[in-house]
């Protein structure tokens, strides 16, 4: 716990904030990519402590938020076919086109909430007469464990285990955001946990092409204010480079063993992002060698396509073009108890973070 308490220290955090106040001379827009960082900023009340000139824009880094509606309907279709569907917790309340996984469970679906896909492999082993599917959503952070579950199932000789994949990748999303003509981003806080797996070599070409600082940043209050301060420092000096604030966790080359496991099971392919649309080469698909573990192929559910709720502006929120409070539905037709879109459900979603923790919930 020492790694946590040290990074939640009020004196250290306030010191960086004072330094930041001195350094900042003009307005800067900084996007934190990861929903975990959004959560940390709002939950700790950091947004109100930042100098007025710094505007944080909340990025698309909430895996639950960017998982397309189709995938949720596919998981529900599996439940309705009698398949045991295993999922991470915050996925289950996200509304599909008709209902959420939680509602499908209430109607008799066998839904299991797990922390690790390896548990799903155990469930498959213990239920040889049932099909078991793990709902493999997430960024690069969850990819190694999801890939490993496939390798474990293969090793165990299980023929009743597969994964419903909706893996997305951070660098292509950053590029898509920067290519949007309305974007106003001056610097990025890179997602610390994603970089713990993948390293940050992919960001060098981005920095060179778009000429903006990227600071790989952690999640605790001190991490966040340090990351912001490093970004402002570069911006004020007019330089742009990749810097690593989260050195206690992230190495430039990442976790090479984890990357090996990912590459064995997954290959890069096009992916649809909820609210953003299709981004080329922005996700993982299962390689040919492991296609037997692809739930979409196994159950013939790849044809399910549904439309988004037209009143939800998740796309603009996820791209950082709008703040949650700028949505006319925020806190009215859309709330965590009755969400129109995923950013209001997940604890990492920008709308939910604003609704639950910020003064905007007074609306």
């Amino acid at each position: 716990m020492k790694y946590l308490s040290e990074y939640r220290n009020i004196e250290a955090t306030q010191k960086v904030l004072r330094q930041l106040e001195k350094e900042v001379s003009k307005p800067w827009n900084i996007m934190e990519i990861c929903g975990g960082q959004t959560h940390g900023l709002v939950r700790n009340g950091i947004l109100e402590l930042l100098p007025d000139k710094i505007r944080m824009i909340h990025g698309p880094g909430c895996p639950v938020c960017v998982t397309p509606l189709n995938l949720i309907d596919k998981a529900i279709a599996l439940l309705e076919q009698g398949v045991i569907v295993c999922s991470f917790g915050d996925m289950i309340r996200v509304p599909g086109s008709q209902k959420s996984l939680l509602e499908a469970k209430a109607s008799g679906g066998d839904l299991r909430i797990l922390y690790s896909p390896l548990e799903a492999v155990k469930i498959a082993k213990n239920n040889p007469d049932k099909e078991v599917v793990f709902f493999a959503v997430g960024f690069e952070t969850t990819a190694p464990a999801n890939a490993l579950s496939v390798l474990h199932a293969e090793k165990e000789g299980l023929t009743n285990y597969s994964i419903l994949v909706s893996h997305v990748l951070v660098p292509p999303a950053m590029e898509a955001i920067l290519d949007d003509e309305f974007n106003s981003i001056d610097a990025f806080l890179g997602a610390g946990h994603v970089c713990a797996i993948m390293g940050y070599q992919d960001y060098f070409p981005l920095v060179a092409k778009y000429k903006l600082p990227i600071i790989i940043t952690g999640f605790e209050p001190l991490d966040l204010v340090q990351g912001i301060q490093m970004a402002v420092n570069q911006l004020e000096k007019g330089v742009f480079k990749v810097e690593n604030q989260y050195t206690r966790v992230v190495k430039e080359e990442g976790n090479t063993e984890a990357i090996k496991v990912i590459k064995k099971v997954f290959e890069v392919g096009d992916r649809e992002w909820r609210g953003i649309g299709n981004i080329p080469n922005s996700g993982y698909k299962i390689t040919k060698a492991y296609r037997d573990f692809d739930a979409e192929l196994r159950f013939g559910i790849d044809h399910i396509i549904v439309a988004e709720n037209p009143f939800c502006m998740a796309g603009d929120i996820l791209k950082g073009l709008k703040k949650p409070v700028e949505c006319p539905q925020f806190g009215k037709a859309c709330s965590p108890a009755n969400p129109l879109g995923a950013p209001m459900v997940s604890s990492e979603g920008a709308c939910s973070a604003y609704y639950n923790f910020s003064e905007h919930s007074m609306l």
Binding site: M1, L4, R8, N9, I10, T13, Q14, G36, V42, R43, N44, G45, I46, E48, L49, P63, V64, C86, F88, G89, D90, M91, I92, R93, L102, R112, I113, L114, Y115, E119, I123, V137, G138, F139, T141, T142, H193, P221, L222, S335, P336, A337, S346, S347, E348, Y355, N356, F357, S358, E359, S361, M362
Partner: protein, 341 residues
């Protein structure tokens, strides 16, 4: 022959039939364990004497797993209802006890649960005066559900009502929060992790009554933050009274291991269930003495003042974060869901 001279090793539908098997189960396990004049009448109900106003509270217990670190559903069913009665400012006296058992429950486990009910009832000074046992088919329950209704005599000095709360009142908690929820979570299927976190299930009626003896009407409210945790209860109170509540993150008593488990699972301890914890909202002029009195009780050694009622931000709970920021504390919506990463 099974335990206590019962012919069966497991509960089956016959034990809920109302016939000889039911009578056998009641005689050998229930009546012999609880043995008191009210129950011994073996009537459909009980007739009891109460002084003055009575407080009544009912609760159903469906915890899974049934046996957890620090207790089982039996003592939970007693402590939970006893504490709810105490939170009304009443001295718990009597409990009703109704079981809904899923067929297939091991007789040993049933006996163990009944024994836990008995010892928890003895410890909190209540008598089981009436009850019921039903058996449902396999798959229609989750081993065992228990409903208890508690009856208590309102303490002569008590005037517990959120209407009495005033701006400036201080909010106290009697110990570490989130213990029960995390103990249960650590044993849930698919989530198991190694820990020594134990449930805090216990009765707090004697402690609460002692505080009422000493401070009477100066205590404006007692509440036990069970499901939904401290955050949900405080949000509810703020809305009820139309005033604001301000709490300090640094003052919330949280045991290190529980804090770590919450970090790992991505849960907020403010929303995690408690069983032996209660909140007191008291007049500011007795704050110091009240805290000192709480700390004298073995169940209050880790008591803290965690916040203040304020006329600012009406209906809202605001937490001053450990790094000097502020955040809203909203009520729990649905179940608290673990995060992906």
């Amino acid at each position: 022959m099974g335990a206590k001279g019962i012919q069966f090793d497991t509960i089956n539908l016959g034990h809920g039939s109302g016939g000889i098997m039911t009578r056998d189960l009641l005689d050998k396990i229930i009546f012999s364990t609880f043995d008191n004049p009210f129950l011994n009448q073996k009537h459909d109900g009980a007739i009891v004497k109460c002084k003055g106003d009575i407080a009544i509270s009912t609760d159903s217990f469906v915890v899974s797993p049934v046996f957890f670190k620090g207790g089982n559903i039996g003592e939970l069913a007693v402590n939970g209802t006893v504490n709810d009665v105490a939170m009304c400012g009443a001295i718990p006296k009597y409990l009703s006890l109704a079981f809904i058992v899923e067929e297939g429950l091991k007789m040993d486990e049933f006996i163990q649960i009944v024994n836990s009910v008995k010892s928890a009832a003895d410890e909190s000074g209540v008598q089981i005066i009436t009850g019921d046992t039903k058996v449902v088919e396999r798959g229609k329950g989750d081993k065992i559900f228990i409903n208890t209704t508690g009856f208590g005599e309102v303490h002569p000095k008590a005037n517990i009502s959120s209407k009495n709360i005033e701006a400036g009142d201080k909010i106290f908690v009697n110990g570490f929060i989130a213990q029960h929820g995390m103990a249960i979570m650590s044993q849930r299927e698919g989530l198991e992790f190694e820990s020594t976190i134990v449930s805090d299930t216990t009765n707090i009626n004697f402690m609460a009554m002692n505080l009422l003896d000493k401070f009477g009407e100066k205590i404006h409210l007692f509440r036990d933050p069970t499901r939904g945790g401290v955050a949900s209860v405080l949000s509810e109170i703020a809305t009820d009274i139309g005033m604001g509540i301000s709490i300090e993150e640094n003052d919330i008593p949280l045991e290190k291991q529980v804090a770590a488990a919450c970090e790992i699972l991505g849960l907020d301890p403010l929303y995690v269930a408690n069983e032996g914890v209660f909140l007191s909202i008291v007049s500011a002029d007795i704050a110091d003495e009240f805290l000192a009195e709480m700390k004298k009780d073995p169940k209050g050694i880790n008591s803290r003042c965690i916040g203040t009622v304020t006329s600012e931000h009406p209906n809202k709970v605001v937490m001053n974060s450990s790094i000097g920021g502020k955040r809203m504390v909203s009520p729990l919506i649905g179940e608290q869901l673990p995060r992906i990463c």
